[in-house]
């Protein structure tokens, strides 16, 4: 072979190699010899050995029951930043496990599938708590099934309560009482009485939750069905005023107000914060993980301004819109097997609890039931011997769950709305002279523009 020919052959081989490598990046096969392969989020991390073992056992059991389905687990958590790129590249998982802040935008963008037909065939579907399912159903379509759900409540430090002369078994239940308690904690202990977060959309999220507790709403549909901003009224104004007074008049809100949930968990676990608002059951594992003392963890009702309402959320399982009918069917079967059964079948619940307790994971954290109250009681009884959490510390929160109305997050453009509201929360918390009226007017105009574009 001449030198030149050799060069050309070499170069061609190099290009072929590159092309071959590029081809390897294609997603896993969808169907192979009639076997449907689904990738599912929610596999425990390798460090969580007992839970991972249980997961693998479940996969084996599931595949035995459904020989035409193969389940590939993924321990990668939900990440909005990578999802769109993975979706575009064809490597997004078949089954998504997402917090309830995500479904409205995923549904709007058509990135998740309607699973009404498949879900309605499940034995337990009809028994799912309608208050939870309200977030996942639109008209006749069903876009997901809940894995677990929560409602906003007051998380508080029982030790700081005692130090400040407050009764840890009787947490405040109204915003006025919270303000008084915050001042008392801050005066007596020098710690932050009431902690607040305001970045990464958490400011807008909290403003929404607090406004609901005052009887307000964030967006409302008009006669033509189109949503417009509805928060420029007393319900939201009172929240902003409350923040302003707690921050600047009482000085009990602390000076570190520009953080997100993770920052507050760390500060709270370190005993620096008396109270704050979050989802108590969801937060508990993070609190323990951050080194928090289980004895001091208190969970109270969502403070109220007269509405008896609380913002509710959940961890939800949804199916990728690109999934084929077979994959959709397989994914729904897996959802039932892995997520619904432990809340529905006492035997499975007990097995779950045993493994979790062995691994030192919290067992028995009271949650908002995804099935009926009776079913919840049945499950609690089945796992009773493995419970390792101070359940009594959640009593005030649990008592409130039956009493409150659960209000979902804004159904259109929730994340955009939260992002637009973060700055007004930050303005009130960082500027003693913030003009609340002006801030609300500006935010209303901004949210209306967002809604117009989202619905246009």
């Amino acid at each position: 072979m001449h030198t030149r020919q050799r060069r050309i052959v070499g170069a061609t081989a190099a290009i072929a190699l590159v092309a071959g490598l590029a081809a390897c990046a294609a997603p896993a096969g969808e169907e192979d010899d009639g076997v449907v392969v689904i990738t599912v989020m929610g596999m425990p991390a390798a460090t969580n050995t007992a839970a991972l073992e249980l997961f693998q056992q479940q996969v084996a059991e599931f595949e035995e029951l459904n020989p035409d389905i193969r389940v590939v687990g993924s321990d990668v958590p939900w990440d909005a930043k990578t999802f769109a790129a993975r979706l575009a590249g064809g490597s997004a998982p078949t089954l998504l496990r997402v917090p309830l802040t995500e479904p409205p935008s995923l549904i709007e963008r058509g990135q998740v599938a309607d699973i009404a037909a498949e879900a309605s065939e499940l034995d337990s579907f009809e028994e799912l708590n309608p208050r939870v399912m309200a977030f996942l159903e639109r008209d006749d379509a069903v876009y997901g099934l809940p894995e677990k759900s929560y409602a906003f409540g007051l998380v508080y430090n029982r030790a700081l309560f005692e130090e400040a002369g407050l009764d840890p078994d009787q947490p405040p239940t109204t915003w006025d009482e919270v303000r008084e308690a915050a001042k008392q904690i801050s005066d007596a202990t020098g710690k932050t009485g009431f902690g607040e977060i305001s970045t990464n959309n958490s400011g807008g999220w909290h403003l929404t939750g607090y406004t609901y507790s005052n009887g307000g709403s964030m967006i409302e549909p008009g006669t033509d069905g189109a949503y417009t901003a509805s928060f420029n009224d007393d319900a939201a104004r009172d929240v902003l005023e409350w923040w302003k007074q707690t921050r600047w008049t009482d000085d009990s809100l602390g000076d570190n107000v520009l953080g997100k949930q993770e920052d507050m968990v760390a500060a709270f676990a370190a005993g620096e914060v008396g109270m704050w608002v979050s989802a108590p059951p969801d937060l508990y594992p993070q609190f323990i993980n951050a080194g928090g003392d289980p004895e001091i963890y208190g969970a109270g009702a969502m403070p109220q301004g007269g509405a008896d309402a609380t913002l509710a959320g959940a961890t939800v399982l949804m199916v990728n819109a690109k999934a084929s009918a077979e994959e959709r069917d397989a994914a729904v079967k897996w959802m039932d097997f892995r997520a619904l059964r432990p809340n529905y079948d006492p035997e499975v619940a007990a097995a779950y609890a045993e493994v979790s307790a062995e691994d030192g994971l919290p067992v028995g954290v009271p949650v908002l039931p995804i099935f009926s109250e009776e079913k919840y009681a049945e499950i609690q009884e089945a796992i009773a011997e493995y419970v390792n959490v101070e359940v009594a510390n959640f009593d005030p929160y649990v008592a409130s769950l039956a009493a409150f109305e659960y209000v979902p997050e804004p159904l259109v453009a929730s994340q955009e709305i939260y992002a637009a509201l973060d700055p007004i929360v930050q303005a009130v918390l960082t500027d003693p002279n913030a003009d609340i009226e002006q801030l609300l007017d500006d935010a209303e105009a901004r949210v209306n523009t967002i809604l117009e574009q989202a619905q246009g």
């Binding site: 590159v18 909005a80 935008s105 990464n200 000076d255 955009e416 930050q426 303005a427 960082t430």
Partner: protein, 289 residues
């Protein structure tokens, strides 16, 4: 013979060109296409003409983000441009410990950006216990709400960006300083010129080319500031540190609106091209004058 050699060279260059074209240029072309489309990445993309640009210009946050970005760039020029030069010149005057000084100056660059930014977030904690406030407290100043105040947040971010980026500039300046003809210094010393006069009349004119290159790189870098506001303030408080790149990020990954994100990316790229062109024009006229 020469033509044959060139042909063979091209063949060997081809894989690199293909790779570069696919991974570097194709995304830019796709981004430009995406700026005129609406897509959910599931269904086929829909052509929407200038709608993404119209939506972008209707966003009241755009002027705020643009002004904030310019403000960050201006502050970076004020703090970030002279500081490394001064440090480099001072270091070049050192008789001993030059190597150690170079290592110390470059050290911040070795720390991954997110780590250094998180570190500074702790330093800038408000209240008396924050590291910076505790230090200032020793001389009776503060405490200041560094990141929690709409006025102080942006300058604080510039300090962090300068701290983490100055090392590279210092090394480049030091390398350039070695190229300054020593006989000029000797002549200046013979004429009795002070250190300051030597710097002003010998060092700086000799380094003009390097200074101008770094100026351009710094402007291009500063206009694309992202890590500091994203990690430290998330654009807050009250939009005081929202930058153009943070807006692009939010449009793409938070709101899933890749069309508008691409439209803004293209606009930013055009601005950077114009800045570069103006700069090249100016430097050419300066060097010929």
């Amino acid at each position: 013979m020469r033509r044959r050699a060139a042909g063979a060279g091209l063949v060997f260059l081809l894989p690199a060109l293909v790779l570069f074209g696919y991974f570097a240029w194709w995304p830019i072309v796709q981004s430009a296409i995406l700026a005129f489309q609406r897509t959910n990445l599931v269904d086929a993309a829909e052509w929407v003409g200038w709608a993404n640009f119209e939506q972008l210009f209707a966003d009241p946050l755009l002027p705020t983000a643009a002004l904030n970005t310019l403000w960050f760039t201006a502050l970076s020029m004020l703090i970030g441009l002279p500081l490394p030069l001064l440090v480099a010149v001072a270091m070049s005057e050192l008789r001993r410990g030059g190597a150690l000084a170079r290592v110390l100056a470059y050290l911040p660059v070795v720390i991954p950006p997110v780590v250094s930014v998180l570190l500074w977030k702790v330093f800038f904690a408000p209240g008396e216990n924050g590291v910076v406030n505790a230090a200032l407290g020793l001389v009776g100043l503060g405490p200041f709400p560094w990141l929690q105040s709409p006025e102080l947040a942006m300058p604080s971010l510039v300090v962090v960006a300068t701290w983490s980026g100055a090392g590279t500039a210092i090394l480049i300046y030091l390398a350039a300083l070695t190229g300054v003809a020593t006989e000029l210094y000797e002549a200046a010393e013979l004429d009795g010129a002070s250190v300051w006069r030597r710097i002003w009349h010998v060092t700086l004119p000799q380094m003009r080319g390097v200074i101008l290159v770094l100026l351009l790189l710094q402007i291009i870098g500063a206009l694309q500031v992202f890590t500091e506001p994203y990690v430290m303030t998330d654009g807050g408080p009250a939009n005081a540190t929202v930058t153009v790149l943070l807006m692009i990020y939010r449009y793409a990954f938070l709101f899933g609106n890749f069309g508008v994100a691409s439209a803004l990316s293209i606009l930013l790229a055009l601005v950077l091209v114009v800045v570069s062109a103006v700069y090249l024009r100016l430097t050419r006229s300066w060097s010929s004058s």
